[in-house]
Amino acid sequence: MWRVLIGRLSTAIPSIAGVIVVTFVLTRALPGDPAVYFAGPTATPQSVEEIRHQLGLDRRWPVQFAYYLDDLAHGDLGNSLSTGQPVLTEILTRLPASAELTLAGLLIAVLIAVPLGVLAAVRPGSWIDHVCRVVSTAGVSLPTFFTGLLLVYVFYFLLGWSPAPLGRLDIFYSAPPMHTGFYLIDSLIAGDLETFRATLSQLILPAFTLGIFALAPLARVTRAAMLAALGSEFVRTARASGLSRWRIVAVYAFRNAILPVVTTLGMVFSYLLGGNILVEKVFAWPGIGSYAIDALIASDYAPVQGFVLAMAALYVTLNLLIDMLYGVLDPRVGISA
């Protein structure tokens, strides 16, 4: 087990190295001179030069890169120029908001897509199969930001069921005491059902927006994998042996169909991390996506760099976890590793 784990970890190293190089190159190429921005409108060329020296921007690129690596090793992502705060702390304080939203979206997608795909495969050609096909084609065609706005219009403006799309919690409520950073969990720990309800009502629209987007590929792959599994010989044997229909579908076929579904989950997560940015903008969600947008507009390179790095690190880690999950779900995978 440990050898497999270390083997997997070592395959992630080149990806992480690539990510670090790419983020460095990208952010040093950002338009706008941070030194000029930092010095303010009344700066003389001399003071700009001085600040450039302070920031280390007058050094050659390889030297800057060495300093960058050193800072990274110390967990230092630099300071945001516009807010003056360390990027790492800002990202860490905003990360739970994004994580709560993304995970809720993923949960909704899985809870809808997997049963839908399974049912569609069990009864191919039935109405539920058609629903599955329409959902999986329409889902990928909907721009996330547009779905979000439509949901806001219908559920906030027309029906008045959901609160205004302005962040994680209505201003009348105060955030629950911090334990996990997830308001849903924290409010339950504090036993504050009122806050829990308020959090949930804010979360539900953005989470559904993300979920609808992620649903399509999941439903499609679940259906295809289940169809393949149901058509296989061991299912025929199980059927011939007189096992119950439910047992064949849930135990024999689904257990074997789950691997491609988990693979797709990794891909879907990449979509979600991107879609997150758009959804956070629509719902004024105080996560790292909206932080990055603000930084981009101010051409503030440290937060952008930190953001891209954090996202890529998150994604690489997740893929690693999925890789290891394979071994748990399907013992055959572990042997070849």
């Binding site: 990510v19 799309p165 994604y315």
Partner: protein, 281 residues
Amino acid sequence: MREFFRQARYVVAENPVTGVAFALFLVFVVVALFGPALAPHSPLASNTAEALHPPDAQHWFGTDQLGRDVFSRIVVATRLDLGIAAGAVALAFVFGTGMGLAAGFFGGWADRIIGRLTDTIMAFPLFVLAMGIVAAMGNTVTNIIYATAIINLPLYARLARAEANIRRDAGYVEAARLAGNSEIRIVVAHILPNIMPLMVVQASLTLGYAILNAAGLSFIGLGVRPPTAEWGIMVAEGASSIVSGEWWEALFPGLALMLAVFCFNLLGDGLRDVIDPRNRT
């Protein structure tokens, strides 16, 4: 060729949705080509006296906050939106296929370097990478095209690599080699034509994603700048009105976007059924 058309007719007869998607595609192409001539109003002329009018006979899709005709803006924007997507897909197609062929056919160092490169791109959440690239290279339409092309590159490179690799020692390749063809000539004249259909299917399947990606970038304020008419920006501009009930400013450009992506996805599926019947879904 006749075989191809027979297969195409069979697919359309089997699944009329593909036919509808193709008709829709033609409409989009005509609008993209002749957009400015078809629009009833100027896409840029503002008229604050008529700001945020709901749809009526004069303005079919209503007017936006500056009193511009939403219908005309959507029509004119078609060329830009489809142009960005087509440009990005074309770039990714050419370079991705080239890289994949080199990696898959020659192997060795070429394979290692290209493999690393695609792995690095795939290590990012793709929209985040596109965002970073556009921000770094500058906020222009050309850079949106480059960014979208770069994030699509690995898809083509990987497919071309796999397909070139399995054909590397095929009988007809050996025959061509014995007949004295150079390696380059074998790749271009024998391998490429054989993997072309699969690459075309891939291109049509990624076109919709390219449109969504470009519109998403301009929605967050990167790339195309106002007052240019573009679907993503129009949805962004309509975002504030939709909360107060003026739905038309964001709804119609969003629908145009959705319809275009829907059309390309269906078309891609249909094309795959024609070219690669084994993978029918």
